[in-house]
Subunit: 292 residues, 2 copies
Amino acid sequence: MDLDRATIERLVEQITKEVLILLREEEASAQSGSECLSCNGQCTGKCPDRTQAVIDAGASRIGNPLGSTSVAVEIAHMIDHTLLKADASQEQIAQLCYEARKHGFAAVCVNPANVKLAAQLLKGSPVAVCAVVGFPLGATPPEVKSYEAQQAIEDGATEIDMVINVGALKSRDYELVERDIATVTRTCHHNRAICKVIIEAALLTDEEKVKACQLAKAAGADYVKTSTGFGPGGATVEDVALMRRVVGPEMGIKAAGGIRTFEAVKQLVKAGATRIGASAGVKILQEARAAA
Amino acid sequence: MDLDRATIERLVEQITKEVLILLREEEASAQSGSECLSCNGQCTGKCPDRTQAVIDAGASRIGNPLGSTSVAVEIAHMIDHTLLKADASQEQIAQLCYEARKHGFAAVCVNPANVKLAAQLLKGSPVAVCAVVGFPLGATPPEVKSYEAQQAIEDGATEIDMVINVGALKSRDYELVERDIATVTRTCHHNRAICKVIIEAALLTDEEKVKACQLAKAAGADYVKTSTGFGPGGATVEDVALMRRVVGPEMGIKAAGGIRTFEAVKQLVKAGATRIGASAGVKILQEARAAA
C-alpha cells in the first residue's frame, strides 16, 4: 500500500515546512513551564506511572489554562488522532499523519492495513503509530489477536488497542477474557509496545465494566479504554470515573468514542482519562486555543 | 469457550428430538420433487456451478411456490443463519446452532471466536460453519486475514466470508485488493473451504462495485457478497443484479444485510442471489410457509 513517488515528495515537503512550526510550539511550551520537558511532552499520555500526577495536576491545569500554547500542546500530547473507517483511503491516512505531526498528537490510531504507510510517513517524528486489533467486535481468538498485533508491530506500530472478547465476558468465561488480554499484552511487551484494552463499555453492565477492568489489570495491560467508536455508545465521564476507581492510579485510561469538544476532553481528563481517542483532534485543539 | 455439561446435555436432548422433525421435512421435500436429492438439498446454496440453474429454476419456483414444505426447505438451504454481534453469548451461539439444525439452514455465520463452539454443536449435521474474516472493516493485511481464516478452518469452519480492503479499492490499489482476496482464497481452497468476498457495496460507487467483483473473480473466490450488515446499508436488488452481471453464472452471490422478509428473499434470489445471510431466518421461513 505504498504511495507514489510524487505524493511522497509532496508530503515530505509539507512535513519539512511544518517541522519549524512544531519546533516553535515545543520551544514555547518549554518556556511556559510545562512539566514534560524531560521526554518532550510525550509522557503525559504514555507513562502509566505518571497517571495520578496527570489527573491531579494536569487536569486542573487543563481546566484552568495558564496559557493557550501550553494547554494546547498538553492536550495534543494526550490525543490519539484517529481514522478507523473501512473506506479510509491512503490519501486520508497521509493527511491524518500530516496533521498528527503538525499538531504534536500522541499517536495516530489506524487499522492494521494502514500501519505500514503511517509508520513510513511518521518516521523520525515523536508521533507513535497505534493499531487496533480484533477491532471493533473483539470476537477473534487470542492467537489471532496476538498474530495481528505482532504483524502490526512489525509494520511499525508501538501501541496496540485491542478489543476484549465481549461475548466471553457476557458468558462469564473470565478465564478466556483474561487469557485473551494476557496473550496480546505479552506480544506487545515482548516487542516494547504498549497494550490498551478496549472494554466497549456501552455494551456492558457496571458489574461487567468492573470485571473487565480487573481482568485487564490482572493480565498486565497498560491501559483500559472505554469504547471502539463503533458500538452503541462512546466515552462517558461516569465510565471513566468508574474505570479509574477500579484500576487505581497505576494504569492509563483512554477515553474514546464521540469526543468532539474541548469541554468534553476537560471533563474526561478530570474524571481520570490520560489519553483521548478522537477524530476531531484538530477541532478540539482550536477550541482549546480559543478558550485560553 | 466450552459449555458446561448440563447445557450440552440439554442441547443434545433438544437436538435429538428435532432430528425427527428435520428428517420428516427432508422426506417431504424429496417427495415434492426437489431437484437437490443427490446432495441432500445443500447444493442450492453451495455449488457455484449450479448458480444459473438456481436462478432460472429455483428463483421462479420460490416466486411461485409449489408447496409450503418444498419452498421452505429450499429457502432454508440458502440461508446462512447469522449472529455476529460483539456481545453474542455462548448461550446465544448455542441457540443459533440449534435453530440451524432444526430448520436445515445452509450454515451458521459467526465470528471466529465462536467457530469452535459452533462446530462442536453442529458436528455430524449438514449445517456448515461459516466464519467471517477481517470483519467488518476489512482493514487488516492479507497475511492477517489468511491466518485468521486458517485458524477458523482448523476450529471447524468450512466457509469463510472475508471483507475486502475497501480503503485500498478507494485508493485504486487494485493489486493489493486482488492479492488480499487471492491470499485468503488460496488458504480456503487449500483446506477445502469456500471463500466468499464481501464487497460492502453501500460504501462503493457502481464503478467500484464492478471492480471489486472483477477482482474477486480474478482471484478465484467462490462467491461475492453484498454487505457485512455493519455498514451504512445492506443488500439491495440493484446491487445483486449488478454483481450477477459482472461475475457471470459461475460464481455464487450472497445477499446479506437487513434481509428480514420472505418477500425480500424472493426479490434478491430473482436478481441473482444464491445464498442469503440473515439473522431473521426463522421468521423468513415462517413467512414462506404462511405464503404457500
